[in-house]
Symmetry: C2
Subunit: 518 residues, 2 copies
């Protein structure tokens, strides 16, 4: 039963169609989530062929339902109803559903199929290229993917243009792809912002790496993986993740999958020689999980029971992983608990642990990067993606361009394509316009924490006691429970008075790494 209040009178008819469609779309999206979760956790090896067919079938049904003519008619009828404004949640649901519907309807089914095939080929070619440690075997598949993404963007641009505010800059291809992950975000915002980020992150990285590295000897292990597992579950409970409304399992690559506020699945990876990896990955996925568990459950049969954007989602994972999880107060509270699982931590002070967990170094691989260098990896990818889509960079020249930018941004050149252009899976799937959401997430995380500090004068005292509940409650009230009622930046602005920007993040990083704040 839809939780939105009904509209009075005979004109309810379009809403019946819309409510039914929203409920189906939400339920089937969450079914897709279970198929993906199971694929990475419990599916037997020989189940892969059938799983591909199952995913394609459910995706096909989702597309059919979203582009059904009856739904388009109902959306038009609901929008044009004279004299009876829907209530705010209905208006928000209508806006979100119309957004999804317009995008799904704009892209021809043939192109969707061609993209799916090209992604599958791209993944195969990328794996072959990685095995050969050379970009060449991947180049053709990537060129095809970029060409198809350009087609997709061309199909979407009229939709973006229709939605644009009068007088705003005409959208470009990259905008159409970026907007799929970060609704409303545009290159015109990101280009200057990323240039600004680069201008202070490069000197910050220089300054921090010029200092002697912290002592990390106590992390050399081995750290029993069963004990890591138990500690990771304690950390999840400590940050407020409800293990009756979710679970943690193991997988090759950690991820989170929210199917419903009552059913959020996280995974982690355990390695006896990398104790911090599981802990911070659990906190990262746990941050995603808190968002999913605290979405508005009463709206679970509508399109509003979902995160506002990928970047806002990432802000929650980064906030719990880094701003909370790599803070000194957190380890003052948690280190005694960690030491119960790992006797070798008994003599380690919270300060020493904190410094080791915040070791900064120049590195080539994004997923292993620290907080200071991480966004430089994203700037690199954003610049290259933009050039590829604008046609100012050819695929064949990509490895050289990568090496060049890597030197400029990170001060290192990859010894082979494996540590360079082939390191991420995103381009193998033709995902362009996704990488910026990581940096958007980092920036929002700092803006949100700064906003919470202003709103809650006792927040630091609570964090100092290891009491994370006030922070979580503030995030739930201001971010999680909003769901998709507003765009991400609107949510952050309503919560903090500020939109997307780098001031709070700069303040946070410089405070922690230059001024020695915890």
């Amino acid at each position: 039963m839809p939780a939105l209040p009904s509209q009075p009178g005979a004109a309810d008819e379009p809403w019946k169609t819309i409510d039914r469609a929203m409920a189906d779309l939400r339920a089937l999206s969450s079914v897709l989530g279970l198929l993906q979760w199971d694929q990475e956790t419990y599916m037997p090896a020989a189940g892969a062929a059938a799983r591909g067919l199952q995913l394609a079938a459910v995706e096909g049904v989702l597309h059919e339902k979203l582009t059904a003519p009856a739904l388009a008619d109902a959306l038009a009828a609901a929008a044009s109803r004279p004299g009876s404004e829907p209530d705010p949640d209905r208006a928000a649901a209508l806006r979100a559903l119309r957004r999804d519907q317009a995008r799904a309807a704009a892209v021809p089914a043939d192109l969707v199929r061609a993209l799916a095939l090209a992604q599958s080929r791209g993944l195969g070619a990328w794996k072959a290229a990685r095995a050969a440690r050379s970009f060449a075997p991947f180049a053709g598949a990537l060129a095809e993917l970029i060409s198809l993404r350009r087609e997709q963007a061309a199909a979407l641009l009229p939709v973006l243009a229709r939605e644009a505010a009068p007088g705003s800059r005409a959208p470009e291809a990259y905008d159409a792809l970026l907007d799929l992950h970060e609704p409303g975000m545009r290159v015109a915002r990101l280009e200057p912002l990323f240039a600004k980020l680069k201008s202070w992150l490069v000197p910050l990285l220089d300054a921090v790496t010029a200092r002697p590295p912290p002592d990390r000897s106590f992390l050399s292990g081995p750290f029993d993986t069963e004990a890591q597992w138990r500690l990771s579950l304690e950390l999840l409970a400590a940050i407020g993740f409800d293990l009756e409304a979710g679970r943690q399992d193991r997988s090759v690559h950690p991820f989170s999958q929210g199917m419903d506020p009552g059913d959020v699945r996280l995974t982690t990876r355990l390695d006896a020689s990398l104790p911090l990896s599981a802990l911070f990955s659990t906190l990262h996925e746990g941050g995603h999980g808190l968002y999913e568990q605290r979405l508005p459950a009463a709206l679970r049969e509508t399109v509003l029971c979902a995160a506002a954007s990928v970047g806002l989602h990432e802000s929650q994972s980064r906030l719990w992983e880094n701003l909370v999880g790599r803070s000194l107060p957190f380890w003052r509270a948690m280190l005694p608990r960690a030491a119960r699982h790992f006797p070798q931590l008994a003599g380690v002070t919270p300060e020493r642990f904190f410094r080791a967990a915040n070791h900064v170094e120049r590195s080539l691989v994004r997923v292993e990067a620290d907080e200071v260098s991480y966004n430089l990896h994203i700037v690199l990818r954003f610049q290259l993606e933009l050039s590829l889509l604008r046609g100012t960079l050819e695929v064949k020249d990509l490895p050289a361009a990568w090496s060049e930018r890597s030197q400029e941004l990170l001060g290192l050149r990859p010894p082979s394509d494996l540590e360079g252009v082939l390191q991420d899976i995103h381009w193998a799937m033709g995902e362009l316009g996704y990488f910026p959401t990581y940096t958007i997430g980092n920036l929002y995380s700092a803006t949100l924490l700064a906003g919470a500090r202003r709103a809650l004068p006792d927040l630091d005292a609570a964090l100092g006691r290891g009491d994370l509940a006030p922070l979580l409650a503030w995030l739930t009230a201001n971010v999680h429970s909003v769901g998709r009622r507003r765009d991400a930046e609107e949510i952050v602005r309503a919560a903090t008075g500020k939109g997307l920007g780098d001031e709070d993040f700069r303040e946070y990083l410089e405070g922690k790494y230059l001024r020695g704040l915890g």
Copy 2:
């Protein structure tokens, strides 16, 4: 890509629609399977609400796709195509799909919804009645379910009548429900068969229970549950279950769920004080699993990659659980392996273990019943269901009728409704016409093993060596790999020369329990 050979020429059009529909139906059915499996294994408690919505959404899509007018038109067009007989697999797929389509189309959507709601209410009322140890709180819900099942049967009877051979007896309500689980089976076959079964099972149970019980002292445990788990996986591997194409997990009630020949999920339940429970439940579910893993994978995108009937499925579980798993040769081969996990079995001979595993006793509870009394439990339920649907028994009189029949068939009266009419979940879901499939399975299992013995003169020598491969290969060739190309009884007849009957089963039971055969 559908694996069926294409038909030549422009007249292919209906087959495109049919192939697409079959692929979607198969994929979405297997998605339903994953949702159900996950619900019983890993789903967190708070996921129940969303899971209900997900199941309903996928079931809704399956119903939509199966009853789509375009599919009905394509089925009619394919059937009426002049002069070009489809190949045998296409003809079989057409038959099976038309069967499913006719049944789905015959039942009004409102009735389907009313049944789903009544099932949910029935389950709640049954649980309340069990808590009260009294039938009364369940009576109203059961009466409603029976009334809705009568409506469903009435909607289906014209379909059965259309399909009936000329001159055959007009179908009754029970036939319509029975046929949903056991295609082609009719009350006219079962009534005399079950009467015959009763006529020799009752005296057999008298004779066997008159003898002193076997020594079961060595089973008093405790048996370490982790060791039980490891042994159960060894048993699965021993019977040929492929753990790369399936898995075993734990659940409150053991079950099997085949999503694809490459992805078959089994569950078991471990109890330190009931060592045989997990072992025989694993063999039972493993038998189901072997059928699912050996369905024709090349036809996985058609309706033919499925079991022919519930009864034939049960024949496979019963064959591996009882006819193989409770045989003396099996334990000659397996007991040394079991003793490696359980030191307390070290001094037990295979003969002693065999006798203990085949202990026969009068009991009130079907799921704990031995091979001799099991089918008497089914005869009881079949007779009562038939009377309820025919209107010769009223719901309010059901507990008394149960007690009466129980005395007559099993020689015992239940001390309360909990051990009587409330013991099974089936009626709580309004499942009528399902129970007979258990006995059909038992009968087929004996007919199939007898047929395999005739076809493979060396079979007993192989079983005596603990070599189960020849039996499995014969079952795969003659049963599993046929899929849904034929009805269950046709499959058994083609494999053994005999249809549904009790001769082989009687021969097996009397040989084992009266003449002391292993």
